[in-house]
């Protein structure tokens, strides 16, 4: 048996730069109300959402990713050629193969960086970050680009009262690279497949094959309905406020960081009520800055945490070097929480 030389990685990794892209079109609640029986007041009180961005035809998953990635790379102060791996987390790239990541790696000008997509819904950013950290520490890549990107407006049934107002579009990206000191805590993550039905696409793509069409959902005018995301709102809400606060606490404990040591809390931006409840349960002190980007961005799934992070750093609400707790959770059900030093 030959001796195999292991890779030489960096003992620690850190987020070196962040970038975001929000589509130009802002959609207020009034527009949502054209298709559902609801009110601005109801939507605001149950979700905290006032406006969201919906992408136009030109703002594709690829274009939004490139915009966010370009900013993250510039922010990290490296060049695209230094990137060894590109990880894209999305559930709204509509081509099964090839992945969107290879196109992004190529168009950014990387030197044949390894590239692949992951599917972990609203936990996708944390999943990507965890993979990136692993690649860096075992030496398969020095710098890794992680992008969360979604066009959830494409998967929204505008006539579904329980989801029409929730989702938004956008892209958020980070560059992860080597660090002399620990700047990313252990990830507390997992899946609960027994709850797979609580957030799911209405019909699978293969049902659109001729022959199956008769069983597909149709609109009032008899038109075939494109698949959309549907969910059991109350069940998901309960899981999020109850179980995810525990996971967030475990991530703090795993990193050896107490709520008093924390500067910033960036939970997945699903619903302001979930965010408020978590802050209460975790007993975060007043001085911890909490991301509340959902108000103007809606739920952008994998993009929500890096988008919120970028905005907090841009507005000065948070600063480089701050210690932040991040937690993503969603369809799967899946979740991932960790403590990071902000870029």
């Amino acid at each position: 048996m030959s001796k195999i030389k292991p890779g030489k990685g960096s003992p620690y990794a850190r987020i070196l730069g962040v970038g975001g892209y929000r589509p130009t079109r802002v959609v207020p609640n009034e527009e949502i109300l054209q298709h559902i029986d609801s009110s601005d007041e109801w939507i605001r009180s149950r979700s905290g959402i006032a406006t969201r961005h919906w992408a136009g035809p030109e703002e594709t998953v690829a274009e939004m990713s490139l915009e966010a990635a370009g900013k993250a790379i510039a922010n990290a102060g490296i060049s695209a050629q230094q990137i060894g791996a590109v990880i894209i987390s999305t559930v709204s790239h509509f081509k099964q193969t090839p992945s969107i990541a290879t196109e992004i790696a190529h168009r950014l000008g990387t030197e044949k960086a390894a590239a692949f997509d992951i599917s972990a819904a609203c936990a996708g950013f944390g999943y990507g970050l965890t993979i990136a950290k692993g690649l860096i520490s075992e030496g398969s890549a020095e710098y890794v680009l992680v992008v969360g990107v979604e066009r959830l407006s494409d998967l929204t049934d505008v006539t579904d009262r329980s989801t029409a107002f929730l989702f938004g579009d956008g892209a958020g990206a980070v560059v992860v690279g080597p660090s002399a000191e620990p700047a990313m805590g252990p990830t507390v993550w997992g899946s609960e497949g027994d709850k797979a039905d609580t957030i799911t696409q209405t019909v699978a793509w293969d049902r659109f094959r001729v022959g199956d069409v008769a069983e597909l959902p149709v609109s009032e005018d008899g038109e075939l309905k494109f698949p959309a995301i549907r969910q059991e709102g109350q069940t998901v809400f309960r899981w999020a406020v109850f179980e995810m606060a525990k996971v967030a606490q475990q991530a703090l404990d795993a990193a050896g960081v107490s709520p008093e040591d924390l500067d910033v809390f960036i939970p997945h931006q699903a619903n302001m009520r979930i965010i408020d409840s978590m802050v209460k349960t975790l007993k975060l002190p007043e001085n911890v800055v909490v991301a509340r980007d959902v108000e103007t961005t809606g739920n952008t799934s994998a993009a929500s945490i890096p988008l919120a992070m970028e905005r907090m750093l841009a507005t000065g609400a948070a600063k480089s070097g701050d210690t932040a707790l991040i937690i993503g959770f969603g369809a799967g059900l899946v979740y991932a929480a960790t403590v990071v030093t902000l870029p």
């Binding site: 009180s45 149950r46 109350q234 406020v241």
Partner: protein, 82 residues
């Protein structure tokens, strides 16, 4: 140990106070969570989660809809506590 009706009402009052900011003395057996106590459908989920912990009961989603008043919740907990 089983909780008495009074203990449950008192516990629920503290929970509602914590979640919706309603003074404990207003949380009485005949009060409706949504109509009288400003507890909307999502706050109700939080109340239920807190009550489960406090009184060692399981209150599944499908039963939550039937708990309209503080009395409904109290009866439910009395019947199902472990």
């Amino acid at each position: 140990m089983a909780y008495t009706q009074d203990e449950i009402v008192k516990g629920l009052a503290e929970i509602v106070n914590e979640i919706a900011g309603i003074p404990v003395e207003e949380v009485k057996i005949d009060k409706s969570f949504t109509d009288d106590l400003d507890v909307d459908s999502l706050s109700m989920v939080e109340v239920v989660v807190a009550a489960e912990e406090r009184f060692d009961v399981k209150i599944p989603d499908e039963d939550v809809k039937n708990l309209k008043t503080v009395g409904d919740a109290t009866d439910y907990i009395l019947k199902h506590q472990g």
